[in-house]
Symmetry: C2
Subunit: 348 residues, 2 copies
């Protein structure tokens, strides 16, 4: 049996690579069912693939506008079988899962009990995972993947019990993006009446971030969406002062549209999951402002060199998915903002 | 002749891609010699390739430990000819250049005159560039590339005059990394006696960041280097309280070594140009601390998901190469810190 002394709360003991790296950076994880003393095993019900990852897979396996579901399923199965975790090799991202605790190691500090229904708040890109049903129940048409199997949580992993009063799919959906509103609120609360621009304001992390920005004291809240249908939805959700339609990949169009709506942002939050939005986000942010990137499609060098190339004095933050209390805060925003709830329910 | 009304201070008018993106994100730039009214043309003397880019090219064109200089030169020439700029397709990064102003457009606001010797402070990854001498003077053994040709600066580009009292190669070397000390100083100055860890403290951006951290009020300054020879150099430069030898790619070794030296860091600055340092940097940073990534080898998703996966409440900042006054500040640090100057001169 694995011994405590071999283990590390980061999960290092499950890394099979020759070079000693953390599980997130590893090529391959040990998925043995037996637990180290501080681990927890979860019986999986559903995976929720990260949006950037799912879009990439969808693009790759579409031919003439038609998705090939068998090929998409086969690739996910192959990744998980090969790597022992669901980490998209292109985007580096994973997603999260919902399941039921089936065993708790004697030294676990995660405060979970057998039978608890939980969502993992650490990425699938570092979570040992075994799929046992060949994904037979997944139609490959959405990032929600019904799935039989098991996953392992480490000593330092984060998981949240699913609230009783919310449908599980709704909880999963909220917890998947719960780092965004918590970090947005933290940045906004440090400023006086800032103007906040949320690019991708109609999406999951975007709508929560809009609600968080207003609650944390934003003076003006601007939501940017890609087309009129989404603008109508966001307008009726009553989460922002201005709704703007612009293509976030067109930097000049984005800059000009945000300026017209009362921008630039003292705080700009990027919540869209397509590549190439760095330049526009920089131009939509005021001199001395802060830019938070939550999109997994963000390119580090495009952000760093883009700001330098524009002589833009903006503080750019990598959207850390973990902020203490983030899951409870996001669930609370959903409970107290009918507009957020409607947008989420409309996407299930 | 190009008209003012067609131009944009971001250089958008020189982007040849079908999709409207900024010059940094573009596949290909228009390198015509004729200037738009707010542009400046520089006669190039020397390129300084970004360290991450040069290492990648070096690795790619090495066989059995031997670099093939012809192949390396050919690839740089091919990139510049194809893209109209020097942007490494793998790392996305560029570098900078030194040259002499040869024409100033009538509407330029860069405050430059014909004959000024300047270093560009915007990346080569967005600077229209034409190489005219086939890089005949470059031995391909270092990132400093003697070069005949011309480059174009946009209305919003940044360039600095080269100080008279410093050798041009020394100025170039300092200005290449001048964003790092300025941003480090800004973050450190907001805290009370913070412990500052600089990973890659013996390098160019690293040694300047160490000096900046101390000058901005750090309580304890720890420099991390990869091996003993560099530790000896850094120790004799007298820039930090502790010098630590650790492999930054080994997260657990880095965490433990930094802890032993008085860490973790309230501020951690990553200045190494190898991939895979995100996890260790996160573990070397205190809860609630700030992590600044200056390495162009940083992976956005590895940073975001790594912190989430470790449940690490750290604020992660993308090292923006532009901070107002950065060039003058870095040159001043070099002038006033003999230790910094010695390290730089040792690397020329």
């Amino acid at each position: 049996m694995p011994r405590a002394s071999d283990g590390d709360p980061t999960g290092l003991h499950r890394v099979l690579d020759e070079v000693r790296v953390l599980p997130q950076a590893a090529q391959c994880l040990d998925t043995r069912k037996e637990l180290w003393p501080d681990e927890v095993r979860v019986r999986v019900e559903m995976l929720n693939l990260d949006a950037a990852s799912f879009r990439q897979l969808e693009r790759k396996h579409s031919h003439g506008g038609e998705i090939d579901p068998d090929a998409l399923r086969a690739e996910v199965l192959d990744i998980v079988a090969t790597r022992g975790k669901m980490q998209n090799p292109e985007t580096g991202s994973g997603g999260m899962l919902v399941g039921t605790v089936e065993e708790v190691g004697p030294e676990s500090s995660l405060d979970l009990s057998v039978g608890d229904r939980v969502a993992t708040l650490v990425s699938l890109s570092l979570t040992p995972l075994v799929i046992e049903d060949g994904l037979a129940g997944w139609d490959a048409a959405s990032e929600r993947v019904p799935c039989e199997g098991y996953a392992v949580l480490f000593g330092r992993s984060i998981a949240a019990r699913i609230p009783d009063d919310l449908a599980p799919e709704l909880s999963l959906s909220v917890m998947d993006v719960c780092g965004a509103p918590a970090l947005t609120a933290r940045v906004v609360a440090d400023l006086v009446d800032p103007t906040v621009v949320v690019i991708g304001g109609g999406g999951k992390s975007g709508s929560l971030s809009l609600a968080a920005a207003r609650q944390a004291g934003a003076g003006r809240v601007i939501g940017v969406v890609p087309h009129q249908a989404e603008a109508d939805l966001l307008t009726s959700a009553e989460l922002c002062d201005e709704v703007v339609v612009a293509d976030a990949r067109d930097p000049i169009a984005l800059r000009d549209a945000v300026a017209k709506a009362g921008g630039p942002g003292d705080v700009t939050v990027v919540c869209v999951d397509v590549p190439g939005c760095e330049g526009g986000a920089i131009l939509a942010t005021a001199d001395g402002g802060t830019l938070i990137f939550f999109s997994m499609a963000t390119s580090f060098s495009a952000a760093a060199l883009g700001a330098e190339g524009l002589g833009a004095d903006v503080t750019m933050i990598v959207g850390n998915g973990y902020v203490p209390g983030h899951a409870a805060y996001a669930v609370e925003l959903l409970r107290t903002h009918q507009g957020v709830r409607s947008l989420f329910e409309g996407r299930l």
